[in-house]
Symmetry: D2
Subunit: 345 residues, 4 copies
């Protein structure tokens, strides 16, 4: 929320020097978030694509360097890892051993065993690690979470998450994505954990390739329904699609013993037109940069604050692992047409 | 929709004489619907509870009699069966053999084999049979269905049905109900079939007793999540609860290849109050009599019109069977923790 | 609100026999309302157009007769006057002298002096008189009124009434209508009085012929803005148009010392479609028969109940007069381009 | 709207050096907007309150100086005047003579004659002048304006503006404010002009002191209804209050020959809670800093762009004058209880 106070940078406080590893689409978003955080400084940028790194560094007044130099630079307190997924775990381990505070984009890896090994290194080194589940920092979902925690709907009973992208990514991306559950639903698994208030113990998933039949050749799916159940019987349903003609559809509804709470989408504007064809509101905000910009800013701010304060980072590596385990269980459930217990993974 | 024309009874048309078997809660609703239908007459009423029959007959100027007499009366063209579930199949068979047009409340029976046997009799006699899935006649759901059929969202991909009762029925009712899937979800299974545009081929269900832990002793559940999949991969998700503190929660959302359509709840009024605590709208209409009164009227009107016109009744006995098969499959899926193919039932 | 109880006619209660004078459009609406009221009977109908009277009487099983016969018939306890405006005052006086309870459509007359004379007769005879301001009985506006009375927004400060017809009536009707303020805004004046909680003491009005420039020749207007002020300074704003492409636009918003309350429109259904062009809801209910049918029923029911109970009818003749005085003041304000005090009229 | 592109500052473009005169509440808002504009630089700050100037300058890396020095500094291309109203006209004249591009907060002065004299100086010098009607840059109102201009509702017929502050300013402020019409409604007058598409030719206003009866001693009012009429008969209604317990209530609805368009408020979040008391949404964003932050940013960006491009600034001094004339006419109408023609002022 914008307030008069929020317009003013705090002064005289310690600032966290951050090196950004990865200057692609999401790296640019994080760079803007860092630059907008009063107690943080973007000091260095690196990317396999030198032009991308140059461009981003130039715009924000940072140095272009390499990941190795960032990790070796003692004046840099934290790294933000926004490279492609296959390099995340290695970079996290190297950064942990270099004594950096670490923010890593999700997922840590597509392989559960690799994530466990990586987290063992993190634990051994004691490095602070935060995983980029940006939706937890969306002001609407955060308010929903906080009100549930405050008891406004009593005990949580069911969670319904609608999560639809406006259009599918390129086939090349999809081929390396790990599949819908690990690439897209993983955000919804984390959201389910965020609001359920209890760990899921079993997963059941169904899925189809309805948007693009060619996905079946990967094989992959673009439409899915997933059901999670916790030990006490709380239920979460997730509805996914890689396509939504009306914008980025991101909703959460939670039903509890004394009421229901939901966070709705954000439209492009509040304008509505009425005519003989009815009442027309604008489509939703187009995609994640529009919808979650405030979330990305709040996420980086939370990271910086917690690192400077020395408090525990959240969501941490364990949250990253647990969401991936749910994705793995969903993939297995879909393949074997049965309910899969989390303990199997 | 109320229009000036709808206020005027048609005159000079043939009228269908209807005998009502069952004068309980739902029988009263149907009696009012019959009386409000210009081309129908409520001529006879019977019920095991003589007082209930007397009362209802007296109010609407009908005769109190027995089911046997209704079936034997050649001046009665149709029967409306609103007794307890365990008598439905027998009454349908007797009415079919007596040459009546038949409207029977759902379900025909809790047992799939019994329903199949009953429908064999119906087929053999050629009796017109309609099953009481009232929600198909709700103006909102009807409009949703018709717009999907008109192609406004392209090909259907996913269906999300939210269906929550305001509060659970008494334990005595629940003990004879056949369980959540056969008693409550059966309406949602029919709604899913109504809008999916393709038959489900598999079912996966999860459920819990969260509203009343005592249900576990029946055993039964009061909270459920069900996923249906069709041959081409269309997916329907159903979310059920026996409790909703804010009223009778009945929503359908359908996502297709070119858009999304949804029918929302109806609030007690359109009044909204804003104050320091926020903006407050009224709760939803309380329960089915309030929410679905227009649907009950349209349903009886459709029955009467089709009988008088000699056209096929819909939803018919097969629809009743198919919804029950889905309920049976859901129960088995829940028990065996696996996806159940419809062919198994 | 439909409830199980509301479906059942009360029995064994005294019934009010009603004669309907006027079988045109609004007469048909009232006939249907009378027939649907358990403790009322529509026994006689008359109209200058014999076919209209025949048709309506036949449909509802009433006798066709004349106004004189209705007034002379001692078995008829009440009359409902739904003729053209110019006959209202005469009929009210004759009915009052005949000892009938009277329901008269608004307005009693277009001339303030004629209304005053008519009400003098009503007072002298002691006849119960109710004037047809149907909107007071709309469930949404009634709920709004009752909540204001219960103090949910504190002291009323401003009232904003939006009132737009879907399309203008024929020129022939308009020529005899008394002009926008007396014909259309009169409902809004009554609504303002209903919710202001204090009598307006001055009126200021502006108006234009934007929908049909030919109106200027009458002269009349089709678009208007009226401001009412009460003694303590409460303010009501009314916005009128004879045209709204999206349906019958009827809203009331009231702002008070501790909050705001509003009653919104009713759409044709709750269905909403989302696509690349945005989110589309259905237009509003088309016009008054659709929007206010429940109000017409509640209005007749309130009339019948009060007559049978012997309680004061409301809104009464004085309400009819006061709304007309506001219309008169608005016309004068518009003509003279100044604020007009009610006392002037 | 946030997009990936909007995150990136443009580089290599000419930047406009701006001196900020006034470091109070609104000055801080503008300072943040300037700092967030890629092609602008906040180089100097001055304020009668040295601490306020020091603080703001320090936070944004600007120099603390005096208005005289800012005006004398040739390296400064533009000034942003955010001082108290009584100094606006003098500063605008001095800045115009100093050859600066000028952004001045509304109003230029509370006196029409003084504004006219000031604008004569501006015209004589040819200085580019923009007046701070921030609401024109609100994304919602801007979209509404643009869609009207694109013809989506046909010809404009009526405009309804709801404008309520959350709570009244201190009595000391009110005493110097020029009264409700000049201080608060002036924004609504500008908005009416922005969307009417035609100049108002007459004004009628009513007002009361309902929030704080002590206002009558100034004299002033805190609640008002104003009606504007254009030459062709278009009508605008404005509803004002100094109090709204549910937040900053800022809505515009425009009705045209083929439809209606409206821009709604912005709530604190999209979260809604349903329980036995109904459905509760969050209050509105609290006040102008929250609601109009995007507008302030867009406004400064538009100023900077137009100055750098050499295009005409809008809204210009004439817009400031015309809104003030409407305020003057409203005050006279309120005092004299009659419709006041703009030509009188």
């Amino acid at each position: 929320m914008t307030t008069l106070e929020s317009l003013l940078p705090s002064t005289g406080v310690a600032a966290l020097s951050i090196g950004l590893i990865g200057a692609g689409r999401i790296g640019k978003v994080h760079a803007a978030a860092i630059v907008g955080t009063a107690s943080a400084q973007l000091v260095a940028v690196c990317d396999a694509d030198a032009d991308a790194a140059d461009d981003l560094a130039y715009r924000h007044g940072a140095t272009v360097t390499s990941a190795a130099d960032i990790l070796a630079d003692d004046s840099i307190g934290a790294v933000l890892i926004a490279t492609s997924t296959d390099s995340h775990a290695d970079l996290v381990e190297r950064a942990a051993r270099a004594g950096k505070a670490i923010f890593c984009e999700k997922p840590l890896d597509l392989d559960v065993a690799r994530v466990r090994a990586c987290l063992a290194v993190v634990e051994e080194t004691g490095a602070p690690l935060m995983v980029g589940f940006n939706r937890r920092f969306d002001p609407n979902f955060r308010a929903l979470h906080d009100q549930i925690a405050a008891g406004v709907i009593g005990d949580v009973e069911t969670v319904c998450i609608t999560s639809r992208d406006p259009s599918p990514p390129p086939m090349a991306y999809l081929a390396r994505s790990g599949g819908l559950f690990r690439d897209m639903t993983i955000h919804d698994f984390d959201m389910a954990r965020f609001v359920l208030g209890e760990e899921p113990v079993s997963v059941s998933a169904a899925g189809s390739a309805l948007v693009d039949a060619a996905l079946a050749s990967l094989p992959d799916i673009d439409t899915a329904a997933i059901t999670l159940v916790t030990a006490s019987g709380r239920i979460a349903q997730i509805c996914n699609s890689r396509r939504a003609t009306y914008g980025y559809d991101q909703r959460v509804e939670v039903h509890g013993s004394t009421g229901m709470i939901r966070a709705d989408n954000v439209h492009e504007s509040t304008v509505e037109v009425a005519g003989s064809g009815g009442y027309v509101r604008r489509p939703l905000q187009r995609f994640f940069v529009e919808r979650y910009m405030a979330a990305y800013r709040a996420e980086v701010a939370a990271f910086v604050r917690a690192v400077l304060d020395g408090t525990h980072l959240s969501p941490d590596g364990d949250a990253g692992l647990r969401a991936l385990v749910l994705a793995e269980a969903a993939a297995r459930s879909h393949a074997e047409r049965r309910t899969v217990d989390i303990d199997e993974i």
